[in-house]
């Protein structure tokens, strides 16, 4: 029975929503999206107040910001906006710390963004980002996610393993169910095989999702199928991003290559050389072993489309079970060109009648599904805000407002959930949606605010493939 009916006090109910939103709504997507706005906002306000009270003494950056703003508590949802973190916060360390592998300093930096004490972890032996990520995975309660570093610096998001698992439980609900579905029905279509046409391991948010697929979607490592074994090298990714940044600045000639990376050149080249072969083997596995099976895919449009293209070249259609679930990010990332009929092509290849479109980002752990009417409905544990694009003032939570997207992620318990994105969206606050879902919704067509300005650093996966290739070709010029 969903917890929304429980008669406990508002503070306890707000905590229940923050602590495990999936359980709060009885693992029922329809219940999740049917909560009325007024009681939901009361819970959200209570939740933010609780997070602020608990975290301001533990997350140093939040404490500083709250001190600067002279804020101890908030009286309404919009009042929290001055305390939201800019999306640049997670990369506000000197670029040379990463360039010179000063991971102890990077941990000091991260310690101010999380309530978890990282100072006891010995990273003195880490020679590369990969070393450091592996050490932190092993020895800290965090699973740090990094961005693609399009500006030449990587953002590091300190998400705890517990938060990631909580997100996974919620995703099982929002990924697999549609509004109006009987939650039990989804379990009747057979077990899922999750497919991911990329690396199994790595520090980028989208690769970290593999953990969620194993633990919450397909239920076992054997039923997760990835194209490349091992780990996507974060160092190589960083190198690729740095090359781009250096190109943009006309400083390619003065780019420093870390000796640790140069030493691994042969190993990395081998991985890259084997990639096409792995991809074809992966494809064969899909088409033969998984034929007719129920698959789950979530990932960037280009990854999805690349697999589809191979299928079309081989003349394959309706390869998997019609009960498969295919989902992807809602909006095209900068620089990516997809054919107009890409969705039809994907559906035709997979054998499903729809692709689930979602809006979300690694910094805010909630994916918002697009409904049948083309609207993105926000999950109840993520509080949306619209900021004036010119002044950054928060706009009223009524009518229709367009501006910069900002969120509060109530699920964040070790880091501060308030986050200002670089996206622009239009929210309809009080107009009911024909699909029946009650939560507020954003129009289709969410875009980067800085599409034309470039250079920002949203945590996204669209750049990773290109960056990888650039890096290899650059390393090759250092024979």
């Amino acid at each position: 029975m969903p917890d929304i009916e429980a008669k406990s006090d508002p503070a306890s109910r707000a905590m229940a929503l923050c602590d495990d939103p999936a359980a709060f709504f009885g693992h029922d997507y329809t219940a999740m999206m049917s909560i009325e706005r007024e009681p939901l906002e009361a819970l959200q306000l209570e939740g933010i107040r609780h997070r602020l009270a608990t975290l301001r003494g533990k997350v140093a950056m939040l404490g500083k910001l709250a001190d600067n703003q002279g804020m101890d508590d908030i009286g309404d949802l919009n009042a929290v906006v001055p305390l939201l973190f800019e999306h640049t916060m997670y990369k506000s360390y000197p670029p040379s710390l990463l360039e010179n592998g000063r991971f102890r300093d990077i941990n000091l930096f991260l310690s101010k963004l999380t309530s978890i004490d990282l100072t006891g972890i010995d990273v003195s032996q880490c020679r590369s980002i990969d070393d450091w990520m592996e050490t932190m995975d092993r020895e800290s309660p965090l699973m740090i996610m990094h961005s693609s570093g399009t500006s030449g610096t990587m953002s590091f998001l300190p998400v705890s393993k517990r938060e990631w698992d909580k997100f996974g439980r919620a995703l099982r609900v929002t990924f697999l169910q549609n509004f109006g579905d009987d939650p039990a029905a989804v379990e009747n279509g057979g077990e899922f095989h999750a497919i991911y046409p990329y690396f199994r391991h790595g520090g980028a948010g989208h690769v970290r999702m593999c953990e969620i697929y194993v633990n919450h979607i397909c239920g076992s490592e054997e039923r997760l199928h990835t194209a490349y074994p091992g780990r996507m090298s974060s160092d190589l990714l960083y190198m690729g991003a740095k090359i781009r940044a250096a190109q943009a600045k006309g400083q390619l000639d003065r780019l420093k290559i870390s000796p640790a990376l140069l030493a691994r050149k042969a190993e990395l080249e081998e991985i890259q050389a084997a990639m096409p072969e792995h991809l074809m083997a992966f494809f064969t596995e899909l088409a033969e072993t998984l034929k007719g099976k129920r698959i789950f895919f979530w990932g960037a449009q280009n990854l999805l489309y690349n697999v589809t293209k191979i299928g079309h070249e081989k003349g394959l259609k309706h390869v998997f079970s019609p009960a498969s679930v295919i989902g992807t990010g809602g909006d095209v990332k900068d620089g990516m060109v997809m054919p107009d009929d890409w969705k039809e092509q994907v559906c035709d290849f997979v054998g499903v009648d729809r692709i689930k479109m979602c809006y979300g980002m690694s910094e805010v752990l909630g994916l918002h599904n697009k409904c049948a009417n083309g609207h993105y409905h926000f999950v109840p544990w993520v509080v949306p805000f619209v900021l004036d694009p010119d002044t950054s003032e928060v706009l009223p939570r009524e009518g229709v407002t367009t501006g910069r997207a900002a969120f509060f992620d109530l699920g964040a318990e070790t880091r501060w959930g308030g986050f200002i994105t670089g996206d622009e969206y239009t929210i309809h606050w009080d107009e009911p949606c024909g699909c029946g879902a009650k939560t507020v919704w954003a129009e289709d067509g969410i875009q980067r605010l800085s599409v034309k300005r470039g250079g920002d650093d949203k945590i996204s996966c669209a750049a990773t493939e290109g960056a990888h290739k650039d890096a290899m070709s650059f390393l090759n010029s250092f024979e």
Binding site: K64, M89, R254, G422
Partner: protein, 476 residues
């Protein structure tokens, strides 16, 4: 807010002495500032170019002194007190310019001086050589008598909108070269060039210089239109100012017979030696100078200081020294007169996000000011510029501590234009080294925006390149 069509401002098109205000279409000002109307360039695509290059001949009936007479008379008419076209353009520019009204006013007030006889003569002499403009210059080479003359060319100017002085400079250069100009105005300054052109028509509608100027606005990148106009039978040269997108975009039309003179998008840097810390007076002096290079024209120019390398030392003491210097620079920036610098028109939101994030990252950075969107000084605590250095603007600069002047080559790359140096004596160490890395112009700190117009620009000689250098080889 929507402006009713009838009251919406009009940027007229100028077609060689004719003012066009019909077939208007609405176009948006950059950043959504202002929607204005302008004649639909598509309808006039065939009238914009000169066509027959032989029609340049009328300019050759003028002597250089005639040209100076004309420009001098034009300069005298570019007086805000008496020129209604200019007043109107200035008022409308408040709405489109990246700077604020006091700065726009100051730029407009500076226009007449650009046309002063002595100034134009100096510019022509230094950037071309008047005798090459006036006739054939002959010299004896080994076994050859060589005549050289600089002819005008049919040129399209894609100008930048950060200062109204760019329109005036383009018109002056066009006149001294006896060239024919089509000025493509930018949406952040669509009014200045037509206002000067209308003043030229008032001055002498039939004068060859008046008759060799066309001014139009179209959306940059309008392929259908540009492909038609940007052809060797229409123009021989394209002079493109600034903006990576605009320069990169133009390159697709370059082909044999159509030359690009590109004033690439650039950035500038400053280098301040340890001498700035020799005394309180020296520090105050350097801070005032740096504040000027950062703040002048509200940092909308490529000449403005952005990343500043300071030989303060990188130890704790050095960083403290740099913070004090940063405070002094910030205060001096706020004290700049409003004709030079004001609170920015609209602080870049993305930049604000970056600056606000660094403010909390106070182990590594000190952010001075910026809470009121007035501009900020970011002091790096490590010898490391911020990763968003290319986005610095709106009176926001980054001071980077260094121990040794040898480290400053990092400040300079292929995108560097001006390097401001303090003290003057420090230049000796830099003059012969930094150009190898990309520096194009050295200035005494505090004078970055006072660019002389009588010299090279961006490491090239654009005025010489705007002419056609014709030779006559005479052999016995």
């Amino acid at each position: 807010m929507e402006t009713p069509t009838e009251t919406m401002p009009v940027a007229p098109m100028i077609l060689r002495g004719r003012i066009v205000t019909d077939h208007l279409v609405e176009v948006g000002g950059r950043g959504g500032d202002l929607v204005f109307r302008t004649p639909d360039a598509h309808r006039f695509a065939d009238l914009l170019p000169l066509g027959d290059p032989g029609r340049l001949a009328d300019l050759y009936s003028l002597s250089f002194e005639d040209i100076l007479d004309y420009l001098e008379a034009l300069g005298a008419r570019l007086d805000m007190a008496t020129n209604a076209h200019l007043r109107e353009a200035c008022r409308l520019s408040y709405l489109t310019a990246p700077t604020t009204p006091p700065i726009v006013d100051a730029s407009y007030a500076a226009l007449p001086a650009m046309f002063a006889r002595g100034h134009v003569r100096e510019m022509a002499e230094k950037t071309v050589g008047i005798r090459y403009l006036e006739g054939w210059v002959e010299e004896e080479l080994d076994g050859l008598r060589l005549g050289v003359r600089c002819f005008g060319a049919r040129t399209l100017h894609i100008i930048a909108g950060n200062s109204p002085m760019i329109s005036a400079l383009t018109i002056i250069r066009n006149a001294i070269l006896r060239s024919d100009a089509i000025i493509k105005t930018p949406s952040n300054d669509p009014f200045t060039a037509p206002a000067i052109a209308r003043t030229m028509i008032d001055l002498d509608p039939g004068h060859p210089i008046t008759r060799h100027l066309a001014v139009a606005y179209w959306r940059g990148g309008d392929e259908a239109f540009e492909e038609r106009l940007y052809q060797p039978h229409n123009v021989e040269k394209i002079m493109a100012w600034g903006g990576y997108a605009s320069v990169k975009h133009v390159t697709r039309y370059i082909q044999p017979g159509l030359e690009l003179v590109s004033l690439d998008p650039k950035r500038s840097a400053s280098i301040i030696g340890g001498a700035a810390f020799a005394s309180e007076a020296a520090m105050a002096d350097a801070a005032r100078r740096l504040a000027t290079d950062i703040g002048a024209m509200n940092q909308v120019g490529c000449v403005n200081a952005r990343v500043v390398y300071v030989q303060s030392g990188t130890d704790e003491e050095g960083v403290e020294r740099l913070k004090r210097f940063g405070e002094a620079t910030y205060r001096a920036m706020l004290d700049l007169p409003e004709a030079v610098s004001t609170r920015p028109k609209r602080y870049d939101r993305e930049l604000k996000g970056e600056v606000d994030a660094l403010r909390l990252s106070d182990d590594w950075y000190s952010v001075i000011g910026g809470t009121d969107e007035e501009g900020a000084i970011i002091v790096s605590h490590m010898p490391d510029p911020v990763d968003f250095a290319t986005r610095l603007g709106d009176r926001t600069a980054n001071l980077v501590p260094i121990d040794d002047i040898g480290e400053v080559t990092a400040a300079v790359d292929a995108y560097t234009q001006t390097v401001g140096v303090y003290p003057e004596s420090l230049k000796a160490e830099l003059l012969d080294v930094l150009p190898l890395y990309g520096a194009q112009r050295f200035v005494t700190l505090g004078h970055a925006v006072e660019a002389t117009l009588a010299s090279a620009q961006d490491g090239i000689e654009p005025v010489r390149r705007m002419g056609k250098w014709i030779i006559n080889e005479i052999r016995a």
